[in-house]
């Protein structure tokens, strides 16, 4: 560790923070806190991008950091927060199914992710290659969160956390995707969230709740 420059150590610290936040989301019951955690994760992602941009002098990474700041730290959490207040689910929480087992599974996922990242990290020439494993772990943990949660809002937070992991992965492996693709992805995420906003109100209007238990009638009928 002695040879690693301070800037890179900071990037690694951000990566560790991202992973910790993923675990925090996995064990968080209150919906509104989940949104705060998501915003913090976005902020760390933005910070990591800025640090890498400063170190590598890649101008498009600054734009990418700006996008992250605008979209994932400010706009989307604000949108979700507003939705939560307008839908009056501010105090909602959901029971977790077997929190300790979930945590243990999460640990296994992290080990698996690092195994998966081995061949990629070995080839990568970027400064942040040691963090690819963390990026994959964040993606898989978000995936697990989407599987284990029953509330629509928590699933959406999981989805956005997965996007965070994907962006972080793209950055640590290749210093981000070309600008046109990154803009396209950001646009898609933005539109997806707006569609979701509309969608939530439709669900709410129909069922008077955002609990996905109501959305389970379309099983295979005999």
């Amino acid at each position: 560790m002695n040879n690693v420059p301070v800037l890179l150590q900071l990037v690694n610290a951000c990566a560790a923070g991202l992973l910790l936040l993923s675990f925090a989301m996995l064990s968080q019951r209150r919906i509104v806190t989940l949104v705060y955690l998501l915003a913090t994760q976005g902020a760390l992602l933005c910070l990591a991008t800025l640090l890498l941009a400063w170190r590598t002098h890649q101008p498009h990474l600054y734009i990418s950091a700006g996008l992250t700041l605008g979209l994932k730290v400010i706009f989307l959490p604000w949108l979700l927060h507003r939705l939560i207040r307008r839908l009056d689910v501010y105090w909602d929480s959901e029971p977790l199914i077997n929190a300790s087992v979930t945590m243990l599974l999460g640990l296994l996922i992290v080990v698996f992710a690092f195994g998966l990242a081995q061949p990629i990290a070995a080839l990568s020439s970027t400064a942040a290659r040691s963090t690819i494993g963390i990026a994959i772990a964040v993606i898989l943990l978000a995936f697990m969160m989407m599987i284990t949660r029953r509330k629509a809002m928590s699933q959406v937070v999981g989805f956005l956390s997965m996007e965070n992991g994907l962006f972080f992965g793209a950055m640590s492996a290749t210093y981000g995707m070309p600008m046109v693709v990154e803009l396209g992805v950001a646009l898609d995420v933005l539109v997806a969230m707006l569609v979701l906003g509309v969608f939530f109100f439709q669900i709410r209007e129909q069922f008077d709740s955002l609990d996905l238990h109501h959305l389970e009638s379309l099983k295979e009928k005999h």
Binding site: P119, L166, G169, T174, P178, V180, G184, F207, L218, E220
Partner: protein, 485 residues
């Protein structure tokens, strides 16, 4: 020029139809925009016939034998579906299932959906391909929930989350390909994401990274193809959305998603030099065929029945691409074309049949042929075509696939034959009493547009008897390009 018109028309259509809102002539305007798009696609096709493949706009867009016929097909089915939806949606409004505001949303999103599919097909940039595929999901989510019934909301949510998660996996796969390509081509610009450049250097791409990328890409885009066990969203979205949307989802979106999978497979196979991607395609394909064939028996809703039939056919096509080689690829491309035409024709007749019976439950649809011979015959002929009866095109494609399977993968032939037999019995057994028997049907307030149905079936019949030389030529060239074996 043709490119610009092709991509700009649907965008303009979405803006104009969204802005004008619920006018009386909006359905006609929607059809007009689709007609212009189709004309642009025809012009583009003519150019390809005259001058061969083309790269335009700094190589960002391209047209080659693999995507030219899919572009023409997409624009054609887009047009016929717009024609069909004109009376269909008016009947739905008269029956009180839709308000004027939702019809505006429907028209705008319909054009936007056409745009995303054409963008996905023509873009040379695999990053933009991803963006367009996600756009296609987003533009159809609100269409699946158009009726706002509890079941449609559930279907829409499932569609959104499953395809959203799936497509996120595909993004990671795309990032990995970019990562591998950047080493060879050099990063910075978009060059390392251009398919034509990747194809040129595919042998040098790092195999371990590419195989990992393929797993993510196959799972990601495979969710949209509806490959089992990732197909859960498909029957719900088809059954609960409006019928024109079922027709374009089945006929077009599944094709476009499969197109993305095959483009990626070409790159990965070139890099690995092994059978891994082919074997994965064959495995997913076979599981889909078998699972769908047996699920067909359990269906009571007519649109779910044909949705499962789409899963089955996508499975067959995927299996054929997995076998690879000139003949199997040729058959798969032919099958993509005829399945798309036949399945959308079936959904057109099914839509009107369900409107006549007032229900999508098959037990309540009876005696179509007595009251409306065209709908009855349309459904009958469409079903005969889709289960693979000669002389329709589906038969020719399935015959080629089965004979190739006997040569290359003999173990799979009995499984395929069994599944096809089961599917035949299930579909035919259900359709027969709906067409014949005592009538329960009623008159519709607007006369249905059945010209698209018979136009589609006529083309399918023609393709079963004779494939035009330039089309066969594209199929052959694309089959060589896709390779395998």
């Amino acid at each position: 020029m043709e490119f610009l018109l092709l991509l700009a028309t649907p965008i303009a259509g979405a803006l104009v139809l969204g802005w004008l809102g619920a006018r009386r002539f909006a359905p006609e305007l929607n059809a007009l925009f689709s007609l212009v798009t189709f004309a642009a696609a025809c012009a583009l096709t003519a150019r390809v016939i005259a001058h061969g493949k083309a790269l335009v706009a700094h190589e960002q867009f391209f047209i080659d034998p693999f995507n030219v016929f899919l572009v023409a097909l997409t624009a054609f089915v887009g047009l016929t579906t717009a024609l069909f939806s004109r009376p269909y949606m008016r009947v739905e409004m008269t029956h009180g299932r839709l308000s004027a505001g939702r019809l505006r949303l429907y028209h705008a999103m319909y054009q936007l959906f056409t745009f995303t599919m054409l963008l996905a097909l023509t873009t040379n940039n695999i990053g933009l391909l991803w963006v367009a595929m996600e756009g296609a999901t987003l533009s159809t989510v609100l269409l699946v929930t158009l009726y706002r019934t509890p079941a449609s909301l559930e279907a829409g949510w499932k569609y959104f989350i499953l395809c959203g998660v799936g497509i996120a996996q595909a993004l990671f796969g795309t990032i990995l390909i970019y990562f591998a390509a950047e080493k060879i081509i050099g990063g910075g610009g978009t060059t390392a994401l251009l398919w034509t450049h990747l194809d040129a250097v595919k042998a040098q791409l790092e195999p371990r990274v590419m195989s990992l990328a393929f797993v993510f890409l196959l799972v990601g885009y495979g969710t949209k193809v509806g490959l089992a066990p990732l197909h859960n969203w498909l029957p719900d979205a088809h059954a609960e959305g409006p019928t024109p949307i079922s027709a374009v989802l089945s006929g077009l979106l599944l094709n476009v998603a499969l197109y993305a999978v095959v483009r990626c497979k070409v790159l990965v196979e070139g890099s690995l030099g092994t059978q891994l991607p082919s074997n994965m395609l064959m495995g997913f394909g076979l599981v889909s065929v078998v699972l769908a064939a047996f699920f067909l028996w359990r269906q009571r809703d007519i649109k779910r029945l044909f949705a499962y039939s789409s899963v089955e056919h996508m499975g067959i096509i995927t299996f054929a691409f997995g076998m690879g080689g000139p003949v199997a690829n040729f058959a798969a491309l032919l099958h993509m074309t005829v399945h798309s035409l036949t399945k959308s024709a079936i959904f057109f007749t099914v839509g009107h049949a369900a409107q006549k019976a007032g229900s999508q439950l098959m037990d309540q649809i009876r005696g179509l042929i007595t009251l409306s011979p065209t709908i009855g015959w349309g459904l009958m002929l469409g079903s005969l075509a889709i289960v693979g009866m000669p002389p329709f095109g589906v038969f020719a494609a399935e015959f080629l696939i089965l004979t190739t399977a006997m040569k290359q993968q003999p173990w799979a032939t009995p499984i395929l034959l069994l599944a096809l037999g089961v599917a035949f019995a299930a579909v035919f057994g259900r359709v027969q009493p709906m067409v014949f028997g005592e009538t329960t049907a009623r008159r519709l307030p607007h006369p249905p547009a059945l010209l698209p149905v018979f136009a589609h079936l006529a083309i399918v019949l023609a393709l079963g008897l004779f494939v035009p030389p330039y089309l066969a030529d594209w199929y052959r060239q694309a089959a060589v390009m896709i390779g395998g074996h």
